[in-house]
């Protein structure tokens, strides 16, 4: 059963003079993604693969209602993303770009964001204990966010985003910048969530992570989804049986080189 349906989305950004200089272009607009189509089944982990700047984050930001696509439709559990408040109640969106305020403690931040979900105090407290135990936040729950390490901050961000126990978890580069131990905690948690029937969509360029946890993947090249299937089918339909090689071959085919 499809729980996320992305149909023909396109997103264009205008480039500032500074950005045009950096990108060495005179074009005032940049097409970040175009005609992106894919779906995610309920209860699966879907991986969106691509190089830096391919359009993974833009696609996830559109699904998470943080930005609006210029064209196309996105349905989240049957709800169009134009109903952003309803969609946000169903999803958790995590990215390294989303930060928490340094001067507050994990306890304060958790309570603050949980109040926006119209949950009762008893549930909020119970869920907090559960998540804080799971991610071992309790021992630094009263330490200011600014004094925490990157891994600790990431754990708090995850806990805060999961306060409402959402059915869909969207995770942009989940293990990016994390140490090995914290990365394993996060990966194990995603598998655990999948086992509990949650739907997870992640973006990454780490092939080992994809092969380990994803059921289906979409490879995005230059703003377009070029391949979308189960890992097994992709390998079977390719001359190479190595996912990394499939990925590189596709890039070479589309762009002529790896740049």
């Amino acid at each position: 059963m499809k729980i996320i349906e992305v149909t023909g989305i396109k997103k264009t950004f205008s480039l500032s003079a500074k950005q045009r200089k950096i990108n060495q272009t005179n074009e005032k607009l940049k097409v970040a993604i175009s005609d992106v189509n894919f779906y995610v089944n309920k209860g699966e982990i879907f991986g969106l693969l691509g190089s830096n700047g391919a359009g993974k984050t833009t696609t996830l930001r559109c699904i998470a209602t943080l930005i609006k696509p210029d064209e196309g439709n996105i349905l989240i559990d049957g709800i169009d993303i134009s109903n952003d408040l309803d969609v946000r109640k169903k999803i958790a969106f995590l990215t390294n770009e989303l930060k928490l305020e340094d001067q507050f403690t994990p306890n304060y931040i958790y309570d603050y964001f949980s109040k926006f979900h119209n949950l009762n105090d008893e549930y909020i407290e119970k869920r907090k204990n559960e998540l804080f135990d799971k991610f071992e936040i309790t021992k630094f729950a009263e330490t200011k966010i600014g004094d925490l390490s990157t891994g600790m901050k990431q754990k708090v961000s995850i806990a805060v985003s999961l306060v409402h126990d959402p059915d869909i978890i969207i995770f942009d580069e989940p293990t990016n910048g994390l140490d090995v131990i914290t990365a394993k905690v996060v990966t194990d948690y995603l598998i655990d969530m999948k086992n509990k029937g949650k739907t997870i969509i992640i973006s990454t360029h780490i092939m080992s992570l994809v092969e380990k946890i994803c059921d289906r993947i979409g490879i995005i090249v230059n703003g377009k989804v070029k391949l979308c299937d189960t890992i097994e089918n992709i390998k079977n339909n390719s001359s190479s049986h190595d996912l990394e090689e499939v990925f590189f071959n596709l890039y070479k085919e589309e762009l002529g080189d790896y740049s």
Binding site: L85, R88, F93, H117
Partner: protein
């Protein structure tokens, strides 16, 4: 409404949960104002006292007996220096070095040559020395008195008419009110805008810069609630900060009476305070909407502060136009944002409050703030503005 309350609570917690921030945002402005005004007032009083007590050192040469007769009555205010043995150059050098304050020389045969070009009083003074300047002022008055006495002796009437001022009808309350009306609008508007600037510039641009705004935008809340919550909390903190500065001014009054030229106490009615409170609320809303506009447009706190600074400067300049306005004021002027608040504050402090003018001021400011909020909401829905890095 619940969402707005949550936003307000967190924004206030950013200040009230941290003693260091409470001190720097709410207490320090009041302490600084108290310190500055007390120091200025005490210094001014000291200068006045010193000038009153100080006896200038002067040389009077060739003075006619008729003048000495008049001067005698004032002689205790001066110390007469005897220049015997000093050359003219040495005397001038002493004047330059402030070792001497004044040299007065009457021309030869002064009394005999009155009404001719030959009668002349030459005064050497050093204007860079305040004692010399005061000595000159006092001595000029003595010379004028002497002139009038001499004219009277010749039976010449010196005044065309006599001015008889009877000030027993002065309303002391309104008199003090007039002084406060000159002072308070500028102080209040400056304090509120300064308070807003200190926190408003960071309120949105800072969150953008630190990446915390995107986290907030992902919560299931309306963007309108975020803006309204930010405006209310910023306005509240700005008003509290302004109140702190205001307390600083009041506390410095006993030391700064000469500075503010207030020598009597005055009290305002409960209604005056209610009106003042209402004006403060719309002023807070206006200042926070304006500063948040700059903050929303900017990419960083530093950039927001640079956009907000011209707004602040214009806002504190506007009351200076109303400070010296007199006579009947057109009702249209009560519709001009900030200027109208400055006028109505002047009316409150001078006990000339007019309900219609007050209502026009509140209504026009509310309309202006609504327009600003509408623009802010539009900006808050623009991805280009919210995610511009």
């Amino acid at each position: 409404m619940k969402e707005i309350k949550q936003i307000i609570k967190k924004e206030l917690d950013k200040i009230f949960k941290f003693p260091r921030v409470i001190f720097s945002t709410l207490i320090l402005p009041g302490l600084l104002i108290f310190g500055i005004y007390s120091f200025m007032g005490t210094s001014l009083k000291g200068e006045i006292d010193r000038t009153t007590v100080y006896k200038p050192l002067i040389i009077i040469e060739n003075a006619p007996d008729s003048f000495l007769g008049v001067f005698d009555a004032f002689s205790e205010n001066f110390i007469i220096f005897n220049p015997e043995g000093l050359s003219e150059e040495q005397v001038k050098e002493k004047l330059v070095k402030s070792e001497l304050d004044l040299v007065v020389t009457f021309s030869d045969d002064f009394e005999d040559s009155v009404f001719t070009e030959d009668s002349k009083v030459t005064i050497l003074a050093n204007n860079g020395n305040s004692n010399s300047y005061s000595a000159y002022s006092l001595f000029s008055e003595i010379l004028n008195a002497y002139k009038e006495i001499e004219l009277a002796k010749l039976d010449i009437k010196t005044d065309l008419f006599v001015i008889d001022l009877d000030d027993t009808y002065t309303d002391e309350k309104k008199n003090v009110g007039m002084v406060l009306a000159m002072l308070m609008p500028m102080l209040i508007i400056t304090f509120v805008f300064a308070g807003t600037l200190s926190i408003g510039a960071d309120a949105i641009a800072g969150e953008k810069e630190r990446g915390t705004l995107a986290t907030l935008l992902m919560a299931p809340i309306r963007r309108n609630s975020i803006i309204i919550g930010k405006i209310i909390s910023t306005a509240f903190i700005a008003i509290v900060s302004a109140a702190s500065s205001f307390v600083g001014v009041l506390a410095s009054m006993p030391f700064a009476k000469d500075l503010f030229n207030i020598n009597a106490s005055v009290s305002y009615s409960f209604v005056d305070f209610v009106i003042l409170f209402a004006v403060l609320i719309v002023l807070g809303a206006l200042s926070s909407s304006l500063i948040l506009l700059a903050s929303t447009f900017a990419k960083s706190t530093k950039e927001a502060a640079s956009y907000a600074m011209p707004i602040y400067i214009i806002a504190i300049l506007i009351p200076t136009f109303s400070m010296f306005s007199s006579g009947p004021i057109s009702k249209v002027l009560y519709t001009i944002p900030i200027y109208n608040i400055s006028l109505i504050l002047k009316d409150i402090f001078s006990f000339n409050i007019n309900v219609t003018n007050f209502l026009i001021t509140i209504a026009s400011t509310v309309v202006f703030v609504s327009i600003l909020i509408f623009v802010l909401l539009k900006m808050f829905k623009s991805e280009k503005i919210l995610f511009n890095k």
